[in-house]
Amino acid sequence: MGSIINAQQIVNGLQLGSIYALIALGYTMVYGIVRLINFAHGDFYMLGAYAAYGAFFVFNSFMPISGPLAFIVLVIAMGGGGAIALLANRFAYKPLRYKPKLSSLVTAIGVSMFLEYFFSALPVIGPSPRGFPEIIPKQMYTFLGAEISNYVVIDIAVAAILMISLTFLIQRTALGRAMRAVSQDKDAAKLMGIDVERIISWTFLIGGAFAGAAGLLAGMTYPRIQPYMGILPGLKAFIAAVLGGIGNVPGAVLGAYIMGLAETFANAYNSLLGEGIAFVILILVLLVRPTGILGEKVADKI
C-alpha cells in the first residue's frame, strides 16, 4: 500500500481536489439559488484560463514577473469567469427563468457548446492547445518524503482563502443573507423586498469568478490550455457537487476533495481501471445517501 497511499499521493489528491472545489462551488451555488444545473460552468473555467493567459502577456510586457503581476492576473481571470457567467445568465438563462426546468437545462448545454466552438473558431484563441506561461517561478521543496512545488501550496492556499471568504460572505453579510433567503423561497424573498434577479446575478458572478480562479490555477499547474479543457473537470466537479449534496456549499468542497483523493488513489492502485474506481465510489455513496453526503432532503432534482 506504500506506493498508493503516501504523503506524495495525498498532496497530489489535495491539489486536484482544490481545483475541483473551486469549480464545484459555482455549480452548487447556482443550483442552490435557481435550481439549474449549469453545464456551461466548466467553460467559464476555460474562459478564466484564457483571460489569465492574455492578461499575463499584456501586463508582462511592462511588468516583471512578481507577486503583484500574479495578483493582477488572478483578478482578471476571476473577472473573465464572472463576466461570462453574468452574460450567460442575462442572455440565456434569465429569459427562461419561469419556463420548464428542462428548457434551462438544454440551454445550459447549448451555452456550453457555443462557448467551446465559438472560442475554437476565434482566430486569437483557435482550437490547438497552447502552453501556459510560468506566472510564478517554480520552486521545489521536500516535505515528509513528498516533492512539493510552490504551485501545490498556491493551489491549496488560493482555494482555501476563496472558500473561507465565500463562507464569510454567505454567513455574515447582507448579500449572503439574501442569497440564503432566495435559495429557501424565491417568492417569500421577493415579498420581503429582496431583488431576486439581482441576487441571482451576484450568484452567477461569484460562481463564475471562482471558476475563473480555478482556470488560472489549472493553467499554472497543468500548463496546457485549449477551448475544450473545461469539459472533463466541469463534469467531475459537478459529480463532486452531487456527491457532497448539491446546493450545499461545504458539501461541494468536501465532495471535491473526496473526488480528487479518490481519483488519485484509484489511478495509483490500478491505472487501467483508474477513474472507473472513483465513479464506483460515487455510486456507492449515492446508493447509501441519495441526496449526497451533506445534502438536504429535497424532492425536485433534475
Partner: protein, 375 residues
Amino acid sequence: MKLFAMVVVLAVLFTGATLVSCGGSTEFKLGGVGPVTGEAATFGVSTKQGIEMAVAEWNAKGGVLGKQIKLYFADDKGDPAEGATVYTKLIQQDKVSAIVGTVMSKVTLAGAPIAQSSKVPMISPTSTNEKVTQVGDFIYRACFIDPFQGTVGAMFAFNDLKAKKAACIFDVGNDYTKGLSEAFKAKWEALGGQLVGYEAHATGTTDFKAQLTKIIQQKPDVLYVSDYYNDVALIAKQARELGYKGPLVGGDGWDSPELVKIGGAAVENGFFTNHYSPADIRPIVQDFVKKFKDKYNAEPDALAALAYDATYIMLNAVKTAGKADGSAIRDALAKTDLGVVSGQVKFDANRNPIKSAVIIEIKGGKQVYKTTVNP
C-alpha cells in the same frame, strides 16, 4: 466521307496501340500511386517526387533488366474509391509489372486486393495500418508499423542509455500509444531489463501525478512515454516536478514543434524514434538530401524518403528476379536485404520491414539527430 475518316482514325489508333504494346518489350513498366490532389496533397507530391527521383537514377544507370523504366503515375486523390479505380487502370490498361503506392492506409487497403488478385507485386511507402500487408503475399511496405517503434525504443534505452529499470505510461484509449508501450514492454523484458511500472491514463486528462508518483517511487532509469506531443509535454513537466531527472523516450508522436513550446526544459533529455531524419549523418542520407534539394529545391520529408526507398526496394527485387514476372518479383522481395535512405531493410514473414530507426534527441529546445538503431 465521315465513315471513311472514322475508319482512318480507328486504324491509326489501332496501329498506335499495337506500337505501344510492342514498345512494352523495350521498357519496364512501373506503376506509381499517390494522392497528388485532395486532403493529403502534400503527402502525394512528396511521394511522387521520391518515386520519380529514384526512377530517374535507375534509368541513368541503364534501367532494369536491360530496359528503361517507364513510370505510370496515377493520382488516387486520397479517396479509396478513386484508389481502386487507378489500381485497376494501372494493372488492366497500362499493364504495369509492379506498383509503388500508395500513401494513406485506407486507400492502400482499397488498391491492395486488386494487385493481389492480379498477382502484381506492390509496395506501399508509408501505410502504417497493420492490415495492409495482411491482404496477401504480393503486398509489402517500406515503413515500419507503429508498434515497431516501441521495440526500437526499448533497444535504445537498454543499449545506448544503459538503463536497467524502465517504466511505461500510455493513453489507455488510443491504439497507437498502447501499441508502442506493449511493444516496448515485450522487447524490454526480452532484453532482460526490469519493468518497474506500466501505467495507463485516461484520454484527455491533464493530471498524471498519481501514476507518475507510483512509477517514480520505483526509481526507474528511463521512462517510456508513448503519447502524442501534447500529453508528453505535460507528463514530462509533472515527472520533473515529482523529482524524476532521468531520460524520457517515446515514438514519432513527439514530432511537433509544440512539444518544446509546452514542455520547455522538462522535455530536455528526451529521445524519440522516427522513420528518418534529414539530419542523419550517414552518407547515403546526406547524399539523398543533397540530390533532392538540387532537383526540387526543398528538404525531403519522411514521405519523399520512404517513397524513394520503396522504389529502390522494388526495382532491386525486379533486378534480382531477372524477369518482369509478378511471382518472381514477389519471391525476390521476400529475400530483400538492401541499404536504403531510411536504413537497412529486410522483410519479416508478414512482409513488414525489419529496419533501423533514427533516434532524435531534444537538446537546447531543438530536435537533434542522435543515432540510428538497427533491430
